[in-house]
Symmetry: C2
Subunit: 261 residues, 2 copies
């Protein structure tokens, strides 16, 4: 690779991934919006979209493809090849991780691109809030809570949250900054007390890695994009295609477009 990943355009990055580069996308294409991918058959699309409408914090939809289309308005690439890695689910069960899903794609697949916390982590860092899991070289820890999402047809499940430790004097900044990004999970759902969310042990996340909480910092919880993915898989669609964790869709959108005043 020439240059730093942050300097690539989305077009350039997607070409590298299409040609076989397999890498997590954190830090790539600075300022461009990265997204979660969930593609399901058209018969399941209404429930996914309705689940998102009813649960906008964990499930902020950035764009929806036409059935069978391989690009969307905000993703001017090929959804089947231009992510660095994919996971394929059959009947809701994990079947395979691949870097090209052309052989799995169907004409009735509808792709949902869903906002990702990379966007607000960049904004937090720019506002002077350290991102501890990045400093520690780990994936963000995620937890199932005891809060149920509003269901939509067969789609149901608990709210899943991500956790980032924040110093008490920066909690207000963290709330203020992320509140302005409703399209990427928005303000925290909870500050300070894991047990109030039904989380017994911060050291044992349900997804991702545990993160060390520096002395005096508070655990702050945001709605997480794993929520809709878990709900969709529990409904057992015959086929679902998702990005592999951390290997996101790099869209042509700019993070700045997601800020509300």
């Amino acid at each position: 690779m020439d240059g730093s990943p942050g300097a690539y355009s989305p077009h350039e990055a997607r070409a590298l991934f299409r040609d076989g580069l397999r890498t997590p996308t954190a830090g790539w294409c600075t300022g461009r919006t990265q997204a979660n991918l969930i593609a399901v058959p058209r018969d399941y699309a209404y429930e996914v979209l309705l689940f998102a409408q009813r649960n906008p914090k964990p499930c902020p939809v950035l764009d929806v493809s036409e059935p069978g289309a391989t690009s969307t308005t905000v993703f001017d690439g090929d959804l089947r090849t231009d992510l660095p890695a994919y996971r394929v689910y059959v009947d809701g069960k994990y079947a395979d991780e691949v870097d090209d899903v052309r052989e799995h794609w169907r004409d009735d697949l509808v792709a949902f691109l869903i906002g990702c916390s990379f966007t607000f982590e960049d904004a937090l860092a720019a506002a002077g809030v350290p991102i501890r899991h990045v400093e520690q070289g780990r994936n963000v820890p995620m937890y199932r809570t005891d809060r149920a999402c509003r269901s939509a047809g067969d789609l149901a499940g608990p709210l899943v949250v991500s956790m980032r430790p924040v110093a008490p004097d920066l909690v207000a900044t963290a709330v203020r900054v992320t509140s302005r990004y409703p399209a990427v999970h928005g303000a925290p759902v909870h500050v300070g007390d894991p047990s109030a969310l039904g989380i017994d042990d911060l050291d044992r996340p349900d997804f991702g890695d545990p993160v060390e909480i520096p002395d005096g910092e508070l655990p702050v919880f945001w709605a997480c994009g794993v929520t809709p993915q878990a709900a969709v898989m529990a409904s057992r669609p015959p086929l679902a295609i998702c990005h592999a964790p951390g290997h996101m869709a790099i869209t042509d959108g700019h993070d700045t477009e997601l800020v509300v005043p």
Copy 2:
């Protein structure tokens, strides 16, 4: 009626409408969110929801019912009787205006409650921005623009905007206040030049009434909830049930819940 309409609870107001009172709902149930109603058969619901996702400014969805249900999470009344008046459309054509749609209701109807500008007009007035069409006792003027919405399947059409005159020294206030209400059309789409939107004559609105623009005030344009209604009717669903203009669904939600920081 006892007392002022603003003092009624949503429960009380809906009971009066159910018992036959037929009145525009502007000024009723202060602080409670009023909504546009569009109910269509389940087969059309995905396209309506997708059109809304693709055009959030003119089509901010507050809630979606289960098929056939007569209430929703934010509307704890009977959608068939508890609005003061309804319009029934058959094959996309206006068929009847009634105050009870029980005989038209179907088990497969999905009701969409869509944000309404009453919410942000209250916020504008509270911030000291006069609402000229209210002062003049008229309906807000609405115009078809030359801007196309993003289509969703068969749903397509132009962006429809409402216009409110605002004094130059209050334009910034009007932008700032309405920006904070993305669930009710948000910030203006345009300030000052009707021709840039393809509007030839402000005195001849496509919907509503012309409003007199006080000397020196600028026409300010917001996305309008008529946009999705026009697109839905153009797609000719076999049945659609809407609120009659100005005779809104009074929900149990609070306007304050729609504010973003």
